[in-house]
Subunit: 139 residues, 2 copies
Amino acid sequence: MKSTIIVNIKKYRATGIKLTPQRLAILEYIDGNKNHPSAENIHEAVSRKYPMMSLATVYKTLETLKHRGHISELSIDPKRRRYDPDTKPHHHLICITCKQIIDIEAELSLSIPDELKEGFEITGNHVEFYGICSKCRSR
Amino acid sequence: MKSTIIVNIKKYRATGIKLTPQRLAILEYIDGNKNHPSAENIHEAVSRKYPMMSLATVYKTLETLKHRGHISELSIDPKRRRYDPDTKPHHHLICITCKQIIDIEAELSLSIPDELKEGFEITGNHVEFYGICSKCRSR
DNA sequence: GTTACTGCAAAGCTTTTGCATCCCT
DNA sequence: AGGGATGCAAAAGCTTTGCAGTAAC
């Protein structure tokens, strides 16, 4: 266990940001997290270990990590921003009933007909698939 | 011109909602609008003609229209909700520099490999293409 | 020793709500 | 006439900001 922590500190040091206990707790929580948590989710979870953790610090840290490209911000939820530690291009599958969001790691080669490109130089894409999960369907 | 207004009132009456001057002004403004306006945008625009228009009324009307399926809500902009009078499935092309949003009306046949579907029944999808528009590129 | 992060509180935005009044249908 | 829409103001989120104190480098 101790060695895991050491490995992680090394990894987190590689982000280049100044490491504080608060930031380590945030990095530890979001690392590999597949729940697309909001700032409030992160604050709530991390507060259990570090009760002093302030929500403002969470927001400021997320902003820093986003600018350095270590996390990405999702505009999937109209009510609040969600964050994703996976910065590789990927897509999302959303249950329209329970709102859960699942990663889709498949490569989808998408292209727009030239005549619709309006002179844009396309740099990326993101697909949201909508559907009903099996749990919601069985109700 | 007068006949156009009559035609439009007929069309708007078909929405089934109770028509008030405020609602007509909102419907007229968003009808065919390609700017994906926010509630504030709509309020600002409509206020020029109807200074009494309240922002709360705009929100309530948009909520009503959304529930009846006459407009759709976009989660593209993390700062505020935007609305789209086009409820047919379509996609969006977003300039990462100036943030303008353009409709892409093309049919894109997208599918997820079964093994990644997690038991979901897929009902729809929405693609965001990112790029740089020609105006931004020439700077 | 500097630089910059933290926590708090306040402020800023967007969106929602309660309620009395008013107006479509 | 009745039900629902309007406008106002207040409240309720979510997110940002300023600042004094403190910790990482």
